[in-house]
Symmetry: C2
Subunit: 308 residues, 2 copies
Amino acid sequence: MSVATNRPAPARAAGFDLDAYLARTTTAVNRALDRLLPKATARPATIHKAMRYSLFAGGKRMRPALCLAAAEACDGSWGAAMPLACAVECIHTYSLIHDDLPAMDNDDFRRGKPTNHKVFGEGIAVLAGDALLTQAFEIAAQCRAAVRYPHGTIVLEIARASGSLQLVGGQVADLEAEGQTVSAAQLRYIHERKTSALLGCATRLGGMSANCTAAQLRALTDFGYHVGLAFQVIDDILDVTQTSAQLGKTAGKDVAVQKATYPAIVGLERSRKIAAQLTDKAFAALKPFRGRAVALEALATFLLQRDR
Amino acid sequence: MSVATNRPAPARAAGFDLDAYLARTTTAVNRALDRLLPKATARPATIHKAMRYSLFAGGKRMRPALCLAAAEACDGSWGAAMPLACAVECIHTYSLIHDDLPAMDNDDFRRGKPTNHKVFGEGIAVLAGDALLTQAFEIAAQCRAAVRYPHGTIVLEIARASGSLQLVGGQVADLEAEGQTVSAAQLRYIHERKTSALLGCATRLGGMSANCTAAQLRALTDFGYHVGLAFQVIDDILDVTQTSAQLGKTAGKDVAVQKATYPAIVGLERSRKIAAQLTDKAFAALKPFRGRAVALEALATFLLQRDR
């Protein structure tokens, strides 16, 4: 049952075995990440152990899955999309390591495991994040680029989604909002940057790897934006409604540090409605694919139905 | 007079006005950085103020100068090399911001000014470093790539020099060496990564922007490596021999935290000799350019003659 709605999954995605799909994408992504990163024994071993600790800490690989599913929707292959899926996951993991630092969100647990700085110390955690961010570009620079989207375009896409005007900017705005009165518009600004930017980037990169048309890229952009926002609204809702054990991280943390969240600003019921509306818009964005975006639809449905 | 030797500058560089050259490169680089980075007022303003604070804190712009001079040696233009010069300076600045953090070298001053985290707080300092690292790739992705060196090659060059096996790896090894007995070989490993990697990258990128030949690239690689190592050995020497006021940062810091340095391991006189030998090798590497690398020669001479 969905956090945001009581509706069943849309008809098209109903016959789609998402669990099996996610098992396949996760296995393939983990294998690719293992191949693309320096071995844990590579000198200096500490940094590679630290990078791999967080990269293989049980992340749901939603961004890579979105990337691969977007490539499929555009008749592309997993092979071409995989390096970009891995690059985005490196960026996502780096952002979590740095966000968890004492100077930022100060989280001791992530996905039920001690955070990077609790295991390796703050200095190495900062550097592990730096190295994963850099690794993302090293991987992207070596992808098999499609005709319409050469390496310059691919790298620019990742850098813009991750930079001071998007991902990093969102974290800055989030830090500055703590303990402040925040409007719904400001909160949307934060969530667009902290979550939508990279989810949208993952989705767009999947299309790019498949040499998608401009119209397809617009549809994927629209889809990624709305799924990303919905995802974050639900994250806010879960922080209020679930226990730490269910979440695998410290629940109620947002409330404790007076962090701006949708439930805190517009209430729980209105938050659920917003999440549902965003998902409707995401589904609408997929119409141009005329049924070929079944994996993307199933993923969007899953993102609204998840309970942790 | 040189820190490492009592010899005058080599004959070729003698007629070259390095002060005027550095004034020109610095002005051009500062103007380009100002144009390439988001304005200080761009939302969220805090991150852009923090990025610009450290980027415009009076750095000597040696890496950009090496990049531009390398382009000249290969008959290239400043225009083509400038974005890459700026990208490298963004990487260098990010690495300083993160190295200065309390969890790493814990430095309160840099170039006579309070370090980024002293002004903006640790959280924003981490994010400002992240944003500058990302900005470097955003800039590189938009450079005018030469025929032999497309964007994928350029981005890969920067990512490898900055990643866990080079720049970040050097900082990790440096952190781990504190308070430990370090061999000269281990120290060289650290310095190759902390300094040579990015200086060499800057020099190579200059050649790449000029569509240099494979032989020219090899010469620039050899040059950058040796200049970089010499630069770091001299940095170690200056930390022992100069006052804080002369350096614009806390002198004797390396000794105080038992940091591995050349003077600590091989002594001051031997350190000076090593620096001089490395510079000789750097000059030798420039021979294939037959006098067209006058700016690179002058820069190498300057790096040995500097007293802060």
